[in-house]
Amino acid sequence: MTTSNQNGTAVWQLILAWGFVGIPLAWGVAQTIANSLKLFQ
């Protein structure tokens, strides 16, 4: 068995799956960093 994506998972599927969770998480982290910067003001 391998983890290669021959006949299995395509690269676009990986990008879609990671984007599906990564984009909302990145947005939330960016919001939190923006709020955290108030500590240094």
Partner: protein
């Protein structure tokens, strides 16, 4: 096993069966972390539930609380009940989750979690707090527990070479869920609020629908590895190393081992020390540095702590793959002890920077403790029932969730009422937290490999397999479909 076999037999929910989730050759294991994150990012909303507390005290009065409005202590029970049921459901349903496979568990978690929001929305409409206790607290809490353990155990099976990193990714999502939920909830409430209501019920409904969709996507893309699968280039150890077993321990047999209870106490003490200060960070920073830390800066400090809580989950769990689980917890206990003891000194010398640095490292280790423990259990008890054993262990979280805040709040109150200046009211608490970590250090010190008498024997493996086959055959006869 029988239940698993029946689900495997088909029927309307046959697609949820473990057998339908076995990965085909070529499936990339890197699809599984996003599936796990779909669930953990949703249930991580629990950390952001407090954004609803203030609006829910004005459901009748709208601009300010009316006499019939709920008060904060009453609303505080919603989160407490949810965390209690997280631990209880993880413990009770752990074996069901492990044997039924991740898709069935994630689907169930989605129903419970989203159902909890919908029931709570009805509770807000009807102004029935008990309905919210049952909705978000009991039903949502069960969704939390089942949703928390299922992806973690699946990831451990996909990443035998890097179990700490894999579980760190998922549990990082649990910490990060609040980052999305908090601003999203505030925005939704602002969109739905009118002159006559505050928009909490509508926000609950929208969140329930969004979370259901997200969690269903996770349950659809999740897969379990085929029997005998191993990562490319990975050679599993033939012989167990000193602290990493190659055998499995049955879920309930783990309760008979000292290792389970030692790890239970390690988690409980580490979480108690972290959770106590997490909830009080804003007030503590302002009271220890009067005039230096404004409420706005304190809110920024809390946000920064949340980031380190999330980042620590991935960093420490990944680090544990290299330095070992026992050594990682030694770092938590020793470094945590030194930092807790140093906190009063930062107040005495008036160094906000040193205070912030101490707490950021402490809170990263709080998150790291959560994220590293599944891999510690895998090292001790094997992969077969690690999810179920993890479920049992989460009762330590429920316990810490009660003791941590109580310890900090009551000791502070006691000090303030006995004339201790507010700036020094937390000193005793810090020393007590440091003491808890000394006990945790000793518990970790006593951990050694599980005795072989607790390992599952080939005969019992065979017996379990035979039982599963018999159950499947019975189900096939009943449904007329092949098992």
């Amino acid at each position: 096993m029988g239940a698993t076999a029946q689900t495997d037999s088909g029927g309307p929910f046959g697609f949820l069966a473990r057998s339908h989730t076995i990965a085909k050759p070529g499936f990339s294991r890197w699809m599984v972390p996003p599936a796990a994150l779909c669930v953990h990012l949703c249930i991580g909303q629990a950390y952001a539930f407090s954004v609803f507390n203030l609006p829910m005290t004005k459901l009748i009065g709208i601009s300010q609380s009316a006499p019939n409005d709920w008060n904060l202590p009453e609303l505080g029970w919603i989160f407490s009940i949810a965390i209690f049921f997280l631990g209880m459901s993880a413990a009770v349903f752990g074996r069901w989750v492990e044997e039924g496979g991740p898709r069935r568990a994630m689907f169930t978690a989605a129903l419970c979690w989203s159902g909890g929001f919908i029931l709570s929305a009805i509770g807000v409409y009807a102004h029935a707090l008990w309905l919210i206790y049952i909705g978000y607290g009991v039903l949502g809490g069960c969704g939390l527990g089942i949703g928390y353990i299922s992806p973690v155990s699946t990831l451990i099976k996909w990443f035998p070479d890097r179990p700490g990193m894999a579980t760190g990714m998922a549990i990082m999502g649990f910490g990060g869920g609040a980052f999305i939920a908090s601003p999203l909830s505030v925005w939704l409430m602002s969109r739905f609020s009118t002159a006559t209501h505050v928009g909490v019920a509508e926000t609950f409904i929208v969140l329930g629908v969004i979370y259901f969709i997200f969690m269903m996507v996770g349950s659809i893309i999740v897969r379990v590895p085929a029997p005998g699968w191993k990562p490319e280039g990975y050679t599993p150890p033939v012989q167990a190393s000193k602290l990493i077993t190659t055998s499995d321990v049955f879920v309930y047999d783990s309760l008979k081992t000292p290792q389970f209870w030692l790890i239970w106490w390690i988690l409980c003490l580490n979480v108690t020390a972290g959770i106590g200060v997490l909830g009080q960070a804003s007030a503590m920073s302002q009271e220890m540095f009067p005039g230096k830390v404004s409420p706005v800066a304190a809110a920024g400090f809390v946000g920064l702590m949340s980031l380190f809580n999330m980042g620590g989950r991935f960093f420490w769990a990944s680090t544990s793959d290299y330095i070992g689980r026992k050594n990682t917890y030694f770092v938590f206990m020793v470094l945590g002890f030194l930092l807790y003891v140093a906190v009063p000194s930062t107040g005495a010398i008036g160094s906000v920077e040193a205070f912030v640095l101490c707490f950021l490292v402490i809170i990263s280790m709080y998150g790291g403790g959560f994220a590293t423990v599944p891999a510690y259990l895998k090292d001790m008890f094997g992969t077969r029932y690690v999810g179920a054993i993890h479920g049992l262990l989460l009762t330590a979280w429920s316990m810490a969730g009660i003791f941590g805040p109580v310890l900090v709040n009551y000791i502070r109150e006691y000090n303030v009422t006995h004339g201790v200046p507010k700036a020094q009211a937390y000193n005793v608490t810090m020393y007590i937290m440091a003491g808890l970590l000394v006990i945790g250090f000793l518990c970790n010190l006593f951990i050694e490999a599980v005795h072989h008498r607790f390992h599952m024997q080939p005969e019992s493996d065979g017996a379990l397999a035979t039982a599963a086959e018999a159950g499947a055959a019975m189900a096939a006869r009943l449904t007329g479909k092949p098992a």
